[in-house]
């Protein structure tokens, strides 16, 4: 298998789907002539032309609103948000329109659209451009929320998202475009709504996704060198949430740490922990710990920013804590 970057994996998924289905098109800020803020659509404009690669004004509600309209009449738009934080300007379309139209019009319309959004901190973009608000979007039924942590999953899940007849928010992490990983040759897809054990272990379970996966895998290596073998379960999809591999793992280890980059309060980790307690109470041998971002607007200063974001060392010490 070839080792490629997350950027290449996402790029490949988009290109393969555009080649496969003429209804797929891309719209967003700087996606065309410039090739995308994170260079994901570099070369697309020349290959597909302005009809299928649409540069838009800086108006997120127009981007998402337009994509919804196109999707309702049979296109398969992939709308890009330069950062997920700009999605707040289009909140009504993302939450109140896209996920609900199919439901409220008795199934007369489908909204087969993908919103690609870049989230996460760590690039010194300041408090308003560095957030990980995934939990907010995952709160609403009707919107699928996907956030992969490896190139293989990114490619396979994005292809599934484009083929899905439901709106999908596809969250990428700003610091992970250079992450390399093995990706299968040729055509493949990965189903939305399936969590995956990314590393097997028996002492404790780490549940995480996206950037948290990268950190957790490093933490797992460090713990292994100290004789602690953790199992790492990757959510990959926040909604619909697949608890099965998590519960299965927890029944084996009885101890868990949940890692996310967003804030702890009302977060993804809270949801996972509640469900473990609900579904596997009799297997709990220690309180489950959440590792998450400090409860502050993310600082611009690099040192402070790193101090506020969850780190490998935080995960290592949390695992040791649950193993006490």
């Amino acid at each position: 298998m070839a080792k490629i970057t997350m950027r290449e994996a996402i790029s490949q998924a988009l290109m393969e789907e555009m080649d496969r289905d003429p209804a797929v098109f891309i719209m967003g800020e700087e996606v065309g002539v410039w090739g995308g803020t994170y260079a994901v659509t570099k070369g697309f404009y020349d290959k597909y032309g302005p009809d299928r690669i649409k540069d838009t004004p800086i108006a997120e509600n127009a981007i998402i609103g337009g994509a919804i309209g196109a999707a309702m009449v049979g296109q398969r738009p992939v709308a890009e948000l330069m950062t997920i934080n700009f999605g707040f300007s289009a909140m009504d379309y993302i939450i109140n329109q896209a996920p609900k139209l199919h439901y409220m019009f008795g199934g007369q319309f489908k909204v087969p659209m993908v919103i690609r959004a870049v989230g996460g901190g760590g690039r010194q973009l300041g408090a308003t451009h560095s957030q990980t608000p995934d939990a907010i979007f995952a709160h609403f039924p009707g919107l699928k929320v996907v956030s992969p942590g490896t190139p293989e999953d990114a490619k396979g899940l994005l292809k599934s998202a484009i083929r899905s007849d439901d709106p999908v928010l596809f969250i990428e992490h700003a610091t992970m475009y250079q992450v390399r990983g093995e990706v299968p040759e040729g055509e493949y897809t990965i189903p939305i709504g399936k969590s995956k054990v990314q590393r097997e272990g028996s002492d404790a379970t780490i549940v995480t996704y996206c950037k948290g996966l990268e950190l957790s895998m490093k933490a797992a290596d460090e713990l292994a060198s100290q004789g602690i073998n953790v199992e790492v379960v990757d959510l990959r999809t926040l909604r619909p949430l697949d608890m099965e591999p998590i519960i299965e793992s927890f029944k084996k280890t009885n101890r868990a740490v949940v890692v996310e980059e967003g804030w702890k309060s009302y977060g993804v980790g809270s949801e996972i922990v509640s469900r473990i307690y609900e579904q596997a109470f009799d297997y709990v041998d220690a309180p489950i710990i959440r590792v998450a971002q400090k409860e502050v607007p993310l600082p611009y200063n690099r040192t402070l920013e790193q101090a506020a974001l969850p780190q490998v060392a935080d995960i290592v010490s949390a695992v040791k804590e649950v193993l006490k």
Partner: protein
């Protein structure tokens, strides 16, 4: 600069404490306010907080050692720092009172110590206990440990937990099973068709806890050195019961006032007028306390403790109620704070919840009096030549005759009636 942590003095009559467990070990980081050790005093098991931050450089005494108050127990400083003078104390420390020696091993669970020779019978007894009797206080165990214990008939109360705060975890239950702790009752080996109920006729030898010993020591001292006398009074509780019902309609479930909360307030207000009963005797002097701090006896696993509402006369009913609830909760969990149990000037003991008509209490030294409060019960009463139902409650005060006499005690009980029978007076 390394700092020394000393055995704290957690009560005015505390002379020494048993170091039950080190929570932090040498080399571990510790922050100011972190729990360093658990110690057991006459009154309770208490967590000792560190007043310094850094690394634990030295633990001067071993677990299970009886340590005099103010003797050094640990040194905290920077990693790699040399410990200067750790030696000063151990000489003191290593000479605990000889009679304390047999108690140096805390015995948390009575069922582990038994002289019974027949093993199967013993484990059956343990099994029955785990099934039929709620153990004294909840056992701290993980849900998984509880489930395994239930499935395998292991008595959780008999296990020593190794998890944080002594929590029993899976490992503890499994090692107990491996060492043959659980019952063998379900083994299908017995040939007889009807299994007789096995009753143990063996005597059980149960080690008394430190708390039990302290209660014994203090009350023997009280009953043998204080000349007690007793005055009983019956109170009309109808108005108070009515007011309580009315007040509780406005309060959430977890803040409902108890009858005892009203009594504490009434006792405190009455004591203000009877300083001689809010006092202690020392030689030829009676010291009348400036504060009115009413103690409340609370049943805890292995005995009872008195938690103290400071300045009870100055506090609102809701405040008294919530303080008692909080402190009693801590006392029952074995997490009482030194301040909870220290400084009472007058004690109360309430057995009202057990449908008690009347009882008398032993004075809690060095105080001069204690009030024993019985149940408020609906009984036939005669009023204006008519028999009708009414709420009545008896209370008996025990008083040190060296401090006061019957007439004063009787007047106190009468004055108390003015508050209990006209409870609106407590509010003004």
């Amino acid at each position: 600069m390394a700092e020394t942590i000393n055995m704290p003095k957690l009560g005015f009559d505390m002379a020494e404490g048993l170091l039950v467990r080190w929570v932090k070990q040498v080399g571990e980081n510790i922050n100011k306010g972190d729990i360093l050790a658990e110690i057991e005093t006459d009154k309770a098991t208490v967590e000792v907080e560190s007043h310094a931050s850094g690394v634990v450089l030295q633990l001067i005494v071993e677990q299970g050692t009886m340590v005099p108050v103010n003797a050094p127990i640990a040194v905290i400083g920077q990693a790699g720092e040399k410990v200067d003078a750790p030696a000063a104390a151990p000489s003191k420390v290593e000479s605990p009172k000889p009679d304390a020696a047999p108690q140096t091993q805390p015995t948390p669970a009575p069922t582990t110590q038994t002289s019974a020779p027949a093993e199967t019978v013993v484990s059956d007894a343990a099994l029955n206990e785990s099934k039929d009797q709620p153990s004294a206080g909840p056992v701290k165990a993980s849900p998984l440990a509880k489930k395994i214990a239930k499935d395998k008939n292991v008595n959780l109360a008999a296990l020593q937990g190794t998890g944080p705060g002594g929590r029993v975890v899976r490992k503890d239950v499994e090692s107990a099973i491996a060492s043959g702790q659980p019952s063998a009752v379900s083994r299908p080996s017995a040939p007889t068709s009807v299994q007789p109920v096995i009753v143990s006729h063996d005597d059980q030898v149960i080690q008394t806890t430190k708390l039990r010993q302290a209660i014994g020591r203090r009350l023997v001292e009280s009953k043998t050195t204080i000349p007690h006398f007793y005055v009983t009074h019956e109170y009309k509780m109808d108005a108070l019961m009515g007011m309580r019902k009315q007040a509780n309609e406005y309060l959430p479930d977890n803040e409902k006032l108890s009858v005892n909360d009203f009594i504490l307030k009434a006792v405190a207000l009455t004591l203000r007028q009877f300083p001689n009963l809010n006092a202690t005797i020392k030689g030829n002097e009676v010291i009348q306390f400036g504060h009115v701090n009413v103690g409340v006896a609370v049943t805890v696993p292995g005995g009872l403790m008195t938690v103290v509402v400071k300045d009870t006369d100055q506090k609102m009913l809701r405040q008294i109620s919530s303080e008692v609830k909080t402190m009693a909760g801590r006392a029952r969990d074995g997490k009482v704070k030194p301040d909870d149990v220290d400084g009472s000037t007058f004690s109360t003991s309430n057995l009202g919840m057990y449908d008690v008509e009347d009882f008398i209490a032993i004075i809690n030294p060095p105080e001069a009096a204690i009030l024993a409060i019985s149940s408020a019960r609906e009984v036939p009463v005669v009023e204006g030549g008519q028999v009708k139902p009414g709420w009545r409650m008896k209370a008996t005060i025990s008083v040190d005759h060296r401090v006061s006499d019957g007439a004063e005690a009787a007047q106190f009980m009468q004055k108390l009636a003015e508050f209990l029978e006209n409870p609106v007076r407590m509010l003004v």
